[in-house]
Assembly symmetry: C2
Homo-oligomer: 211 residues x 2
């Protein structure tokens, strides 16, 4: 069975998954790199000096078993990226997705084939429709919901997420885009587990209850 999964999605104590304002110079606004330092310190990111404990165990689950990603328009580029016909994402010629990657946007454009197996497709679709399309492209493997928070919220609200890995970083951002808005009671559909790491972050897994 092909699952819908979220990995390494990082939030502050007050629930923000990005700071503000988002820009070319600061993709996470005033949050800078603070939401993802835990990940950059793991072996999965830093092959030589990275840590190999619980943070790395979670971080490594990002790739295996995934056949396609769906991401939001504001993850793909800074405000106004769609006015730049040459914008191909933040990640250079060989992006870390290595699968078909569907960008949800009201500014569709032709697909872009990158190195390493990533092809960006631009679609305007409901979460359920986008998932159906991505599932087909995933060839029986799982689909990753890549974020940002607005589209993660939409997929959670639509009941489409089977597994969610969140990482709570002990900082209070105060402003940006929140994950939890409009999701009262969302935990009821999941088994929730929390494990704090010596690095200071806390990992949460939300696993859909058997129905």
């Amino acid at each position: 069975m092909s699952l819908t999964r979220i990995h390494n999605f990082s939030i502050s104590l007050d629930g923000f998954a990005t700071g503000e304002p988002q820009s070319l110079e600061a993709p996470f606004g005033h949050a800078g790199q603070r939401l993802h330092r835990w990940m950059m310190a793991t072996r999965s990111w830093d092959a030589e000096a990275g840590s190999t404990g619980v943070d790395n165990a979670y971080a490594e689950r990002h790739g295996p078993g995934i056949g396609a990603e769906i991401m939001g328009s504001h993850k793909f580029g800074p405000p106004g990226w769609h006015d730049d016909p040459d914008w191909k994402g933040w990640w250079g010629p060989n992006p870390p997705f290595h699968t078909p990657t569907f960008v949800l946007t009201h500014h569709a454009r032709p697909s872009i084939e990158m190195e390493g197996g990533t092809t960006f497709h631009f679609i305007e679709a409901t979460p359920a429709e986008a998932l159906e399309t991505a599932r087909e492209a995933a060839g029986g493997q799982d689909v990753r919901i890549g974020g940002g928070p607005s589209m993660v919220r939409d997929f959670l609200a639509a009941g489409l997420v089977d597994h969610m890995h969140l990482v709570q970083v002990p900082i209070v951002l105060g402003r940006g885009v929140r994950l939890w808005d409009g999701l009262e009671g969302v935990e009821a559909a999941f088994d929730v587990e929390a494990v704090s790491s010596p690095s200071g972050v806390t990992h949460f897994t939300f696993t859909r209850k058997a129905s």
Copy 2:
């Protein structure tokens, strides 16, 4: 040295320390008892069947070394309590404070002496003034900041808290009163530690950095 401490202060994943609406029948609104079930399941609450692990270790720290408490008006009673001259708090004749207890309110009334060492005093004062008053009454012991979230926020914003123990419960409340509003960057003044419990909650301690 007399410290200012917060204990067993429970919040949801989305940062709410109470649900809504607060009333005589439902002191925590739609949150019901969900924010404090972890505590009721410990030995410190249930002397016979309670658990004796990490949740209890934290819960037991509530009393020792405390010489006075300061609490907010909405912890002391439901909306409108000040129109009832007989209201003496939620806790019966022997409240679990056992020290002078200062209720911050714009509706001051004469002090009320209860059994077991608790005396309620009603004061209108800034956080710093209230702390000075409570510190004097504490006779060299520590002062506990009892909540709710609005007054905790005020004391944090004023830089008056030395130690804060928070308990994050894995539920999304969606509405109520948030702890973190207006506290961007508050973690910078503290050493923060997180430890998740087999019960599912995560304990955070914020300990003021040596200056």
